[in-house]
Amino acid sequence: MEPLHPDLRAALRATNADLTDAQIDEHEELLARRFLLDPETQEAEIQELDRRREELEQRHMPTYRQVAQRFNR
């Protein structure tokens, strides 16, 4: 997985006032765990990690999509 660009991390922090680097790291780690699992045999575990990650996004970084899209432009 492509490393999170430091400018995107900074933009996430800037637009989500209470967001911490530790929460971004937790999000990254849930993603990382997902991509270590085999989708042929561990689909349920992958879905559970995605669910936990979505919860984290909604709670701490609800503007992630918008920030990422602005960053891309």
């Binding site: 997985m1 492509e2 989708p39 992630y64």
Partner: protein, 387 residues
């Protein structure tokens, strides 16, 4: 620089590759027409291969003589007939080693994107962006073959690789044509289970697939490891005393997604290749920019306690002892909360290619793999190349 040949037809707007030897990085192509000479600068140059991502319309249709120039030396000229027919659906950029199953890297223009929820398939914008697709293929080839990390070109390795492009703009937005799945909030993953059957429709069997897509909302690249088709006669190796195999054939090829909007200052293509070329069961080349461990990693281990001392030795691979990276050189010390640690770097002044290459003090393009991963991946590639 001796003679050369052109691979396939010369078509305006399509890839065009020249094959020979002794090509220098200053190589240019000179098309002689009845009214003058048009010079074209290739997008990718290796000593045996030069690729023009899109033959420009400046080279008019009709018969030409083509010469190559490098270091002031001109080759003999060969006849080339340039046409304006539609670009090829399947284009072989380099045929690789002349054998039944050369190690094959396939670039695919993804026809359809599966939604995050998985319930809808929409046309991938890349199918209406030929120029963007060709530019990304050229970026990927430069990235994996010409930057500081030489794992794919040392000892002429890339001269044995078959390289193919598949781009079919006629395919509809349906499940059987979808090789990419949106993953919230901004990632794209390959639909790896469909790769083998999709490529079989075009007569291709891949070891590694780059799925090129045009999404502007889900454009963080990801990769899935290969699933080896393990066979009893695959070569074995030992890793810390355990015997494993370098699978010669894949059951499911390694794969990654690359967006047309990829940040070309980074090392995304080769970084994702590193993951994808490794394997779920015989050894995973994992990301090093977080503390997560799992599976069968080649390049990451865990200390007995977070922040504890890093052992001097990382691993013994096939009888050779590889040192650990004591300080996560190139980025700074391991965070005190981390338990994981990495193998010794080849270039201790820059981050590991599998770590956060964006932190490189000059350019990510100078980042290298660590010594162990390099040796392991070279052996794995050799097992496949020698099959």
């Amino acid at each position: 620089m001796a003679g050369f040949t052109v691979v396939g037809e010369a078509v305006q707007g399509d890839f065009l590759a020249a094959v020979g030897s002794g090509f220098g990085t200053d190589l240019t192509w000179e098309f002689e027409t009845a009214v003058g000479t048009v010079t074209v600068v290739p997008d990718v140059v290796r000593p045996h291969l030069a690729v023009v991502a899109r033959l420009p319309a400046d080279v008019p249709t009709g018969p030409h003589w083509l010469r190559l120039r490098s270091a002031g030396v001109l080759t003999d000229r060969i006849p080339v007939d340039v046409t304006a027919r539609p670009p090829s659906t399947v284009r072989v950029l380099y045929s690789g080693e002349p054998k039944p199953r050369p190690y094959t890297v396939v670039f695919v223009g993804n026809p359809a994107i599966q939604s995050e929820a998985g319930d809808a398939f929409t046309p991938d914008p890349v199918l209406t962006d030929r120029a963007g697709y060709h530019a990304v293929v050229a970026y990927c080839l430069r990235n994996i073959l010409t930057e500081a990390e030489d794992v794919l070109r040392a000892d002429g390795t890339d001269g044995r690789l078959r390289i193919v492009s598949v781009f079919d703009p006629t395919l509809g937005a349906e499940e059987g044509n979808s090789l990419a799945h949106e993953l919230a909030p901004n990632l794209m993953e390959t639909r790896r289970a469909g790769l083998v059957s999709f490529l079989a429709r075009f007569g291709e069997v891949a070891d590694m697939v780059f799925v090129v897509h045009g999404s502007t909302t889900h454009n963080r690249a990801t990769a899935w490891f290969t699933t080896d088709d393990n066979r009893p006669d695959d070569p074995t190796f030992t890793y810390d005393g355990q015997t494993r195999r370098h699978g010669r054939f894949p059951r499911i090829p390694g794969s990654c997604t690359i967006p047309t909007s990829v940040n070309t200052t980074g090392m995304t293509a080769l970084h994702e290749f590193g993951h994808a070329a490794s394997d779920f069961t015989n050894g995973m080349i994992t990301d090093l920019y977080h503390d997560v461990t799992g599976g069968v990693p080649v390049n990451k281990k865990v200390r007995t306690q977070a922040g504890g001392p890093v052992p001097g030795t990382f691993a013994t691979y096939d009888g050779t002892v590889f040192a650990a990276d004591p300080d996560r050189d190139g980025i700074g010390p391991y965070p005190p909360t981390w338990s994981s640690y990495h193998p010794e770097l080849t270039d201790a002044t820059r981050p590991n290619l599998m770590d956060d290459y964006w932190q490189s003090p000059d350019t990510p393009r100078n980042c290298r793999l660590d010594r162990l991963t390099y040796a392991w991946l070279r052996d794995r590639l050799r097992a496949k190349l020698d099959r």
